[in-house]
């Protein structure tokens, strides 16, 4: 446990996943659980863990909470609702702060999920807050996405417009003890435990259907692609930032601030330096915009 935990910390700090571990991944069922704050995701996961453990499956949970953009700190309170499982050797719970990564996860979540997968957990649950269009990243990482809502959250159809509904494989209405809705969903109550067995079955059924139909492979291919793209973007961003730190680049930025050149020309110039783009290729539109502005 301690070794795994330390590995996760290294991954959290940006270290790459040890190469030999990636080969061991692919066995675990990755379940994303998302939904607005206050619907009871953590309490529901607490119940799910109970069920999985009864079925002798090993479960890990990655619980993501937002970092305050102002203070840089985070209060990670999801674990509290699952604390009764903390001594169970077949359960591993780790709280992560987003550290200002947008999209609902952290930069390191894909790598951490791989580490837990490789460590032998049958199920890896990724819990994140999801409210709207922005927080759908969990779909890139999970085989099954469970969206959790609760009764009296307003028109369920309204929800359909949000990005959240587009990524849901299973829809859950938790806190069903508070009231009924007509939505086609699994109705659970983390408080009483009602519906949790049904949810676990639905997750298993979804997994089976993914495997049988071959969709799992497609999904995982998509997830791998997304992960590589993200890593490339991170590399690219790091390269850019390093370059901008150079005096030559600083001089260009100073010119933009003084309105001697515009940002588009500056980025063209710097891009050529950093990435070696040919100056002339597809920049026609930029040039004409600049010319238009001068005339306007």
């Amino acid at each position: 446990m301690s070794e795994l935990s330390k590995l996760i910390s290294r991954l959290e700090s940006g270290a790459p996943l040890p190469a030999e571990l990636y080969a061991k991944t692919g066995r675990a069922h990755i379940v994303g659980i998302t939904g607005p704050p206050g619907v009871g995701k953590s309490s529901l996961i607490d119940r799910l863990i109970e069920q999985y453990r009864r079925a002798k499956r090993k479960v890990s949970v990655v619980a993501v909470d937002p970092t305050s953009p102002i203070t840089g700190g985070a209060l990670l309170g999801d674990r509290l609702r699952m604390q009764r499982h903390s001594e169970d050797d077949g359960v591993f719970i780790r709280s992560l702060a987003t550290r200002n990564h947008r999209g609902g996860l952290t930069d390191s979540t894909p790598a951490i999920v791989h580490a837990l997968d490789a460590a032998g957990f049958d199920v890896v649950i990724v819990e994140t807050v999801g409210t709207g269009q922005d927080e759908v990243e969990v779909a890139d990482v999970a085989d099954t996405v469970v969206v959790v809502l609760m009764p009296e959250m307003g028109d369920a159809i309204q929800r359909a417009k949000s990005g959240l509904m587009e990524i849901a494989d299973i829809l859950v209405i938790n806190k069903s003890d508070l009231g009924a809705t007509k939505a086609e969903a699994i109705h659970t109550s983390a408080k009483t435990g009602d519906g949790v067995a049904a949810l676990m079955s639905a997750i298993a059924a979804h997994h089976n259907s993914l495997v049988k139909s071959g969709a799992l492979a497609k999904r995982r291919a998509r997830a791998a692609r997304a992960e590589v793209i993200r890593l490339l973007q991170a590399r690219g961003a790091a390269t850019i930032m390093r370059a901008l730190g150079q005096p030559a680049a600083e001089a260009v930025l100073a010119k933009v601030a003084a309105r001697e050149i515009d940002p588009y020309d500056a980025s063209e110039h710097l891009s050529a330096k950093i990435f070696g783009d040919a100056k002339r290729s597809s920049h026609g539109s930029t040039r004409s915009r600049r010319q238009t502005r001068r005339r306007g």
Binding site: M1, S68, G72, A74, L75, L76, R79, Q83, E87, S95
Partner: protein, 124 residues
């Protein structure tokens, strides 16, 4: 910096622990708060899984000697060395005993969040 704030034993008064947790968050730390009625075993298991840099233990009901010494014992057994500090209602004569066990600092009533933040920043 990642800190675990936990209450051991049966005491259910959370105000101090919560105020410290919020204060540390606003000082830029990642704080895991595990609520009330944690056993020493649960506290140490959480500390392992969360790989925290520091653990803050809160006790108001007087059970701190039995409970905190058990926490320190388990940390030692698992070869863990987070910075451990405590707060709540802990008599002066017990402070020295706790320090001997490895609890670096005890923040009694009236302690400021600022002093705890300073202590953590200096010692972690």
């Amino acid at each position: 910096m990642k800190v675990l704030i936990a209450k051991a034993g049966l005491d259910g008064h959370e105000r101090g622990a919560l105020v410290v947790a919020m204060g540390l968050r606003d000082a830029g730390m990642e704080v895991v708060y595990t609520g009330i009625r944690n056993t020493p075993e649960q506290i140490v298991a959480s500390a392992i899984q969360e790989d925290v840099d520091a653990i803050g233990l809160s006790s108001l009901s007087g059970g701190h000697m039995a409970q905190f010494s058990r926490v320190m014992e388990l940390l030692k057994k698992n070869k863990l060395t987070p910075l451990v500090f405590a707060g709540g209602i802990i008599p002066d004569e017990d402070v020295k005993k706790l320090q001997k066990l490895g609890i670096r600092e005890v923040f009694g009533p009236g302690s400021s969040i600022a002093s705890i933040v300073e202590f953590l920043k200096k010692n972690v």
